[in-house]
C-alpha cells in the first residue's frame, strides 16, 4: 500500500516526522509499521512536548521507592508496606462518550496500579465541566459520574475523594482525571522491564476487538466540530472482567512466576510490548495469529492498535506456564503465549509465519521525537481591584451566594453514587479535606486528596503551580497525615501555541519549587495536551493528587465542628487578598488580578505546627482555608454538624469583606476545647506561629458579631438548593 500524505496526516504525524521515520528505518514503512510509529510517537505516549520540562520535577526522597517511568509511583509507608499510586486523564474519550470514557479512565488507572503488584484500596477523581447552563453539561455530568461509579462500584474499590468543578473554559472540552491508590508489600513490587531471551510473552485478559483503534492519537489532537465522529475510537469498559483480571494477576504474583508485566493501556499491544522490551534492551517477537480476537478477520494493524480494555502482557519465567495458565483458567480469562523475547532489539510482528513488520525498538522509544517548544513567560497581572468602587453587598448575601453556587454547593448527590465503604477500611469518606483509608489489618492509615486551581494557574502559572501543591499538602495535614508524595495530571491546551507552552513550563516551575521546599516529590503522573476545541484552549489545569501517612489511626480528624463553646483559632496571617477570589467571581463576575502569593516557609511551619497539635490530640477539628476564604471555610465546618460559630470582628479591620473572603494561603481553622487552649497556645508561641483566637462554636447559629446571624438549617438549605433545582 502506498503511504500518501493523507494517510500520514490521518495518523497524526507531521511530514517532518514521517521523513524522520524513513531516515531511521532506511526505507518506507508499511501501513502496520506506520500505525505503530504513530501510536508510539504521539504526544500521549511519547511526551514529546513535555519531557524536557518534566525532567525538572523533584522525584526523589527517602520515602520514594519508584518515581516516574513505571506504570505508577511507589512510596514507602514503613514496615513491609508500600503505596502505589497514579493519576491519569481520560478527557477526550469522556467528552465524546461520557459514561464509557469515564469508566475506562477508572479501569485504566486501576490496571496501572495492580500491574505493579498492589491491591487497589482507593479511587479518586477530579472532574471539570463547562458552565452548568451549557446545553451539554448536564448530560456529560450525569454520564461521567455514572461511569466513574459504574466501574468502581462493580469492581469493589471505594471511590473516596474528588472534586467537581464548573467553568465555561471546559464547555467544549471537559476534564476527567482518575487516580488509583494501591497497597503492596515492599518485597513484592512488579516492574515492566523484560529480562532474558526466549522468555514466553503471554497475553491475558479480555479478547481484542476493534474498539479504541487510534485512541491515543485522538487524545493527541484538538477537537473540532466533527469530534462526534470519533465515537468509535472510545473503548468500552467491562469492570467485571477487570475484577477477574485483578484477582488472577494478584494470585499469580504470590510467587516468582513473573519477570515483567505491563497493562495494555493507550496504544494497547504496541506500547506494552515496546515498553517492556525497550526497558530490558531486548527484542520481542509476536505471533499475531495467536492474539485472542473478539471479532472476525482482524488484521495485524487492528490488533496492534486496538485499545480494548482489561488486557495485560506478561513475560513469564521458564517452566511457569502451566501454573499461570491454571490460575487464569480458574478466573475464566484468556491466557495465550503470543510470542517471546529475543536478542535482536527489534519488534518483530508475524502472522502465520509471514513477517508483517519489523522495527528496531529504540526507534520507537529513545528515538521518538523530543520538542523543546517555544514558550512565552507570563507577567504578574497588575490590575488592581478597589472594593470601595464596587456596589456594596452585605456579608451574609455574599456568603450565601457562594454557598449556593454550583462550585461550592453540596456535592453529596455525586459522592452518594460512589461506593465509598466497600473494603471496610474507609475511616474518612469524601467531603472532608482528604479521605482516610486504613491499611487493612493494621492500625496505620493513608490520607488521599486531589486539588486544582485553574483560575490561579491561568492568571499566573508559576504562583498557581506553587499554590496547588501547597493546598494539597495542607489538605493532608488537616486530617492529621504527614504528606509524603504526589502524582500530577497536567491538563493543558495546545503545546504548539507558545503561550500555552509557557503556561505549562511555568506551572511546572511552580510545582517544582513547592515540591522541593515541602519535601513532597512527584512519583508519577500524566500529561494531557490539546485540551481545546477549534483553537480555543482550556485554562491550564494541573491536578495534584497527594498521599500522606497517619502512623497510628486512633480517631480520624476532620473539618466538622464537634461541640459547642469550643474555641476557634485561625492559623496564619490574613492580608485580605481578593484578586482571583471566589468572592469577586460569584458576586461580581470579576476574574482579575494575580493569585494569592504562597510563602513556602510559612506554609511549612504552619502545616508542621498543625500536624503536631493534631498528633498530640489537642484539636477537635481542623480545616484548611481555600477558595471562598475564612468565612466559607467556617461555614463548611458548621454544615454537617449542628454547631454554628460566634466570631468576633477584629478591631483593627480595614474591610470585613477582605478579612472574611480573602484567599490568603497557608491558613487553617482549628477547633479547640477550652481545656486544651493553654497547651495549644504554648506550642504555637514556641514555634513562632501567627494565630488569632477569632471566636467560639455555639449551638444552631452561624454568627459574625455585628454583621450577620443565620441558622445552620438555613445555611444547609442554601448549600443544597443548587442541585435540587438543576
Amino acid at each position: 500500500m502506498q503511504i500518501t500524505d493523507k494517510i500520514i496526516e490521518n495518523h497524526g504525524l507531521t511530514k517532518d516526522e514521517y521523513k524522520n521515520i524513513q531516515k531511521l528505518l532506511k526505507r518506507n514503512p508499511n501501513l502496520l509499521e506506520l500505525g505503530i510509529f504513530s501510536a508510539m510517537w504521539n504526544e500521549h505516549c511519547s511526551y514529546k512536548s513535555s519531557r524536557i520540562h518534566l525532567k525538572k520535577l523533584p522525584t526523589k526522597g527517602k520515602q520514594v521507592i519508584q518515581g516516574p517511568g513505571e506504570n505508577a509511583g511507589v512510596i514507602d509507608i514503613g514496615d513491609e508496606d508500600a503505596i502505589i499510586f497514579k493519576i491519569e486523564s481520560h478527557n477526550h474519550p469522556s467528552y465524546i462518550e461520557p459514561y464509557q470514557g469515564a469508566a475506562t479512565g477508572v479501569g485504566g488507572i486501576l490496571r496501572d496500579v495492580f500491574t505493579m503488584g498492589a491491591r487497589p484500596i482507593a479511587l479518586l477523581n477530579s472532574i471539570h465541566f463547562g458552565s452548568p447552563s451549557h446545553p451539554k453539561t448536564k448530560s456529560l455530568l450525569n454520564g461521567v459520574v455514572s461511569g466513574i461509579g459504574g466501574y468502581g462500584n462493580c469492581i469493589g474499590i471505594p471511590t473516596v475523594a474528588g472534586e467537581t468543578k464548573f467553568n465555561e473554559t471546559y464547555n467544549e472540552n471537559i476534564l476527567v482525571n482518575a487516580m488509583a491508590v494501591g497497597h503492596a508489600k515492599k518485597s513484592k513490587i512488579f516492574y515492566s522491564k523484560a529480562k532474558g531471551v526466549n522468555k514466553a510473552v503471554v497475553y491475558v485478559g479480555s479478547k481484542t476487538g476493534r474498539d479504541g483503534i487510534h485512541g491515543a492519537s485522538m487524545a493527541s489532537a484538538e477537537f473540532n466540530d466533527n469530534s462526534e465522529e470519533k465515537k468509535p475510537t472510545v473503548q468500552v469498559g467491562d469492570p467485571f472482567t477487570e475484577k477477574l483480571l485483578l484477582e488472577a494477576c494478584l494470585e499469580l504474583m504470590r510467587d516468582d512466576s513473573i519477570i515483567a508485566i505491563q497493562d495494555m493501556g493507550a496504544a494497547g499491544l504496541t506500547s506494552s510490548s515496546v515498553e517492556m522490551a525497550s526497558k530490558g534492551l531486548l527484542g520481542i517477537e509476536l505471533n499475531l495469529e495467536k492474539v485472542p480476537c473478539r471479532e472476525e478477520n482482524m488484521t495485524p494493524y487492528e490488533m496492534m492498535l486496538s485499545e480494548s480494555q482489561e488486557r495485560m502482557l506478561i513475560i513469564l519465567e521458564d517452566g511457569k506456564e502451566n501454573h499461570a495458565r491454571e490460575i487464569f483458567k480458574k478466573w475464566d480469562l484468556d491466557f495465550v503465549v503470543i510470542g517471546k523475547t529475543t536478542n535482536t532489539g527489534n519488534l518483530t510482528l508475524k502472522y502465520n509465519d509471514n513477517l508483517e513488520g519489523e522495527i528496531p525498538i529504540s526507534l520507537l522509544s529513545s528515538n521518538a521525537p523530543i520538542y523543546d517548544r517555544e514558550f512565552s513567560k507570563k507577567r504578574v497581572p497588575n490590575d488592581k481591584i478597589k472594593i470601595k468602587d464596587l456596589k456594596k453587598i452585605k456579608l451574609e448575601d455574599a456568603l450565601l451566594k457562594i454557598l449556593s453556587s454550583p462550585n461550592h454547593s453540596n456535592k453529596s448527590w455525586i459522592t452518594n453514587q460512589y461506593d465509598q465503604m466497600v473494603m471496610c477500611d474507609t475511616a474518612q469518606r469524601s467531603g472532608s479535606d482528604a479521605a482516610v483509608i486504613r491499611i487493612h489489618g493494621k492500625d496505620k492509615a493513608i490520607a488521599v486528596t486531589v486539588d486544582s486551581s485553574a483560575n490561579y494557574c491561568k492568571s499566573h502559572p508559576y504562583t498557581g503551580g506553587k499554590q496547588i501543591v501547597s493546598e494539597n499538602w495542607r489538605n493532608l495535614i488537616s486530617v492529621g497525615a504527614k504528606p509524603l508524595a504526589i502524582t500530577n495530571c497536567l491538563n493543558f491546551g495546545n503545546p504548539e501555541n507558545k503561550e500555552i507552552m509557557g503556561e505549562f513550563a511555568e506551572c511546572l516551575d511552580g510545582i517544582k519549587k513547592a515540591c522541593e521546599f515541602l519535601n513532597f516529590p512527584v512519583v508519577s503522573g500524566n500529561v494531557s495536551f490539546y485540551n481545546g476545541t477549534n483553537k480555543k484552549n482550556i485554562d491550564p489545569t494541573p491536578v495534584i493528587g497527594g498521599v500522606g501517612l497517619i502512623k497510628k489511626l486512633v480517631q480520624p480528624i476532620n473539618h466538622i465542628f464537634k461541640g459547642s463553646n469550643n474555641i476557634i483559632i485561625l492559623i496564619g496571617k490574613t492580608f485580605g487578598h481578593l484578586e482571583q477570589s471566589c468572592y469577586l467571581k460569584e458576586n461580581y463576575s470579576i476574574i482579575k488580578g494575580k493569585p494569592p502569593e504562597v510563602n513556602l516557609l510559612n506554609e511549612k511551619n504552619n502545616g508542621e505546627a498543625v500536624l503536631n497539635l493534631i498528633n498530640l490530640s489537642l484539636i477537635s477539628s481542623a480545616h484548611d482555608i481555600s477558595s471562598g476564604g475564612l468565612i466559607t471555610a467556617l461555614s463548611e465546618m458548621s454544615l454537617g454538624s449542628n454547631f454554628g460559630v460566634k466570631i468576633k470582628k477584629p478591631k483593627k479591620l480595614t474591610s470585613s469583606i477582605e478579612y472574611f473572603f480573602g484567599e490568603d494561603q497557608s491558613r487553617y481553622i482549628l477547633e479547640i476545647k477550652e481545656k486544651n487552649l493553654i497547651e495549644v497556645e504554648k506550642i504555637l508561641q514556641s514555634k513562632n506561629i501567627y494565630y488569632e483566637k477569632i471566636g467560639f462554636t455555639q449551638d444552631n447559629n452561624f454568627e459574625i458579631e455585628g454583621e450577620m446571624k443565620i441558622s445552620i438549617n438555613d445555611l444547609f438549605k442554601v448549600n443544597n438548593q443548587w442541585y435540587n433545582n438543576y
Binding site: S146, G149, G150, N153, C154, I155, G156, D238, P239, F240, T241, K243, L244, E247, K330, W331, D332, S412, N416, Q417, Y418, D419, Q420, M421, V422, M423, C424, D425, T426, A427, R438, L553, Q555, P556
Partner: protein, 226 residues
C-alpha cells in the same frame, strides 16, 4: 463454635468484608468458590454483596443458576441459616428461596450512604439480640434495592411477621421520605416462612468497627452466634 461459609462468586466484592466481620465475631469461617459442588459443614451460609457474574443481565440472575447454588438451596431446605446481603439478597430472590424481586432504585442511580432501618421482628435467629423497633444506622450501596412483591405475598409478609427491617428516619418514622430506593412498604429485608433465610439490602458487615463507622451490625452476628 459456629461454622460459617461465604459463597464467593467471581464478581463478589464484599466477601472479604463479611469474612472479617464473621471472624471478628468468632465464627469459624470458610470461603466457598462458586465452582465448588460441595459445601463444608455450615451453620450459616452467607451470600455476600458484589456483582456476582457482572450482573449485566439482571442482578443475581446467573448466580441463581450457578453450581454451588444447588447446594445452598439444599442446605436452606434442611434448615441451615442463610444470610443474603445486597447482591446476596438479589440472588436469593432469583433462586426462589425468597419471594419478590429487587427493582432499580426509583431515582435510577446507585445509592451509597448511611440510612436508618428499624428492627421489625426481634424473635428470629438473626435479630434476637436487638430490641424490638430498635433503630440502626447502616450503610446501603446498591443500584437495585427497590424491593417489590405482589399483594398476596406482601400480606403474608405482614401477617406472618416476615418483614425483618424497614427503612425509617432517625426517629423511627417509616415514611416515603425515609425510603431511599422506593422499596414497597420501606422493606429493607425479609425472611422466608421458616425464618431461617434472611435477605437484606443494607450491609451489616460494614457496621462492626467504630473507627470506620459504628457497631450497629454486630448484634446481627451476635444473634446468629447465640
Amino acid at each position: 463454635m459456629m461454622n460459617s461459609s461465604v459463597i464467593v462468586f467471581p464478581g463478589s466484592n464484599c466477601d472479604r468484608d463479611i469474612a472479617v466481620a464473621l471472624e471478628k465475631m468468632q465464627f469459624k469461617n470458610k470461603m466457598v468458590w462458586h465452582k465448588e459442588t460441595k459445601l463444608p459443614k455450615s451453620d450459616l451460609i452467607v451470600i455476600p454483596g458484589g456483582f456476582s457474574y457482572g450482573d449485566y443481565l439482571r442482578s443475581g440472575a446467573i448466580a441463581g443458576k450457578s453450581l454451588i447454588i444447588d447446594e445452598v438451596i439444599k442446605a436452606a431446605k434442611s434448615g441451615c441459616l442463610i444470610l443474603g446481603i445486597c447482591n446476596g439478597f438479589q440472588i436469593l430472590t432469583e433462586t426462589g428461596l425468597l419471594k419478590g424481586t429487587l427493582l432499580r432504585n426509583r431515582n435510577l442511580k446507585f445509592i451509597n450512604r448511611d440510612i436508618n432501618i428499624k428492627v421489625i421482628n426481634n424473635k428470629t435467629s438473626f435479630t434476637s439480640k436487638y430490641k424490638l423497633n430498635q433503630i440502626l444506622k447502616i450503610n446501603i450501596a446498591h443500584n437495585e434495592g427497590n424491593y417489590f412483591t405482589d399483594k398476596d405475598h406482601l400480606n403474608k409478609l405482614k401477617n406472618e411477621n416476615l418483614i425483618a427491617f424497614q427503612y425509617c428516619d432517625i426517629n423511627g418514622n417509616i415514611s416515603d421520605q425515609s425510603n431511599p430506593n422506593g422499596a414497597i412498604e420501606n422493606i429493607a429485608g425479609i425472611y422466608n416462612s421458616k425464618k431461617n433465610i434472611l435477605g437484606m439490602m443494607p450491609h451489616p458487615e460494614r457496621m462492626v468497627d467504630n473507627l470506620i463507622s459504628n457497631t450497629d451490625g454486630i448484634n446481627l452476628f451476635a444473634s446468629i452466634m447465640n
